[in-house]
Symmetry: C2
């Protein structure tokens, strides 16, 4: 998505340690009109799939997911929750996700009430790097007996393994921008 | 807002310990069309204020805030972040918020870049109980020299002190539903 690449060039900040900050429109401040455009783009990319639910993970995925749902006739959004306590119960699907950004491990849960075998799910998230968050969400969807229809990512770090892994597994993955190289000293970003 | 009261009666679950679960449309699964109606209602209630930014706190506030921003000509949304580390730095406004639901204390931060003295802010949040989250957000707005134009809450627990405290301070607070009594044994909810 050209407009996204331009926005990343204009507003993104490359930091040491392979960090791309897009706090001006996605991860801290939210540019609502731009999220709406991205949501429309996701609808175009996944329009052939019979999607009846959008799944994301708190917190940064929620804005994009909600604005995307609007373009799928307002299907419900479910956001998986990061659980501090090891919150395992009969009422929850439960998985474990390592966070690259925060360098920790989170228990991630979804109430069984909001995901079941009739669901055809589009996963939406802001970043894809090593793929742990998306693989965790796929695990939760499988536990529910639901179907993964596709995975929509705002920014993929193409030089990390997540995208390759998920495409190899046969999933329909679309990233609105794929970064092939970042240089924190020069502040350079190269897109695929 | 009559439609919200009806939805709470229909879908809300009163649990022991003064907990109201509205996971079916607000706190876990999100009813996007309904959030849009609530956003429209907030616009009507605060239309006389010169609002140029919406402030909320992750995670449950984000969906409502984004859908509300649409009705204010897509003003930017900023979500304050709960910081695990005591993340005090020159680049951040910082405050402390006690969470009633999770019975813990969070450091809450906003980057100075996204809040300043020119901002006229509408605070949006899902629940108001003892008011700690809203008072924390007001503190952050004051640190930035910005103006609190109003506070829009989805569900206020009217029998707790937050609403009274904030109204007494002179702020324009609007809650779409105010609960005066809840009974977890009978599952009853009485609105103001």
């Amino acid at each position: 998505m050209k407009a996204l690449e331009e926005k990343i060039i204009r507003e993104g900040i490359v930091k040491k340690g392979n960090i791309l900050k897009v706090d001006s429109f996605l991860n801290h401040q939210i540019d609502v009109a731009f999220l709406d455009e991205m949501g429309k783009e996701f609808q175009t990319l996944f329009q052939k799939h019979p999607i009846n639910k959008i799944l994301t993970i708190e917190a940064s995925g929620i804005g994009v997911a909600v604005m995307t749902a609007r373009h799928f006739q307002n299907v419900p959004v479910v956001f998986a929750k990061k659980s501090k306590s090891s919150n395992i119960s009969d009422e929850l699907y439960h998985t474990t996700v390592e966070s690259f950004t925060h360098q920790n491990t989170n228990d991630v849960v979804i109430s069984k009430q909001y995901l079941n075998e009739n669901d055809h799910v589009l996963i939406i998230d802001d970043f894809l790097a090593n793929g742990c968050a998306v693989l965790g969400l796929i695990d939760l969807i499988h536990q529910a007996g639901a179907t993964v229809e596709g995975i929509g990512i705002v920014i993929e770090k193409g030089y990390q393994s997540g995208g390759k892994t998920i495409r190899k597994l046969g999933y329909h993955l679309e990233s609105l921008a794929i970064i092939d190289q970042m240089d924190d000293e020069k502040g350079e970003i190269v897109f695929r």
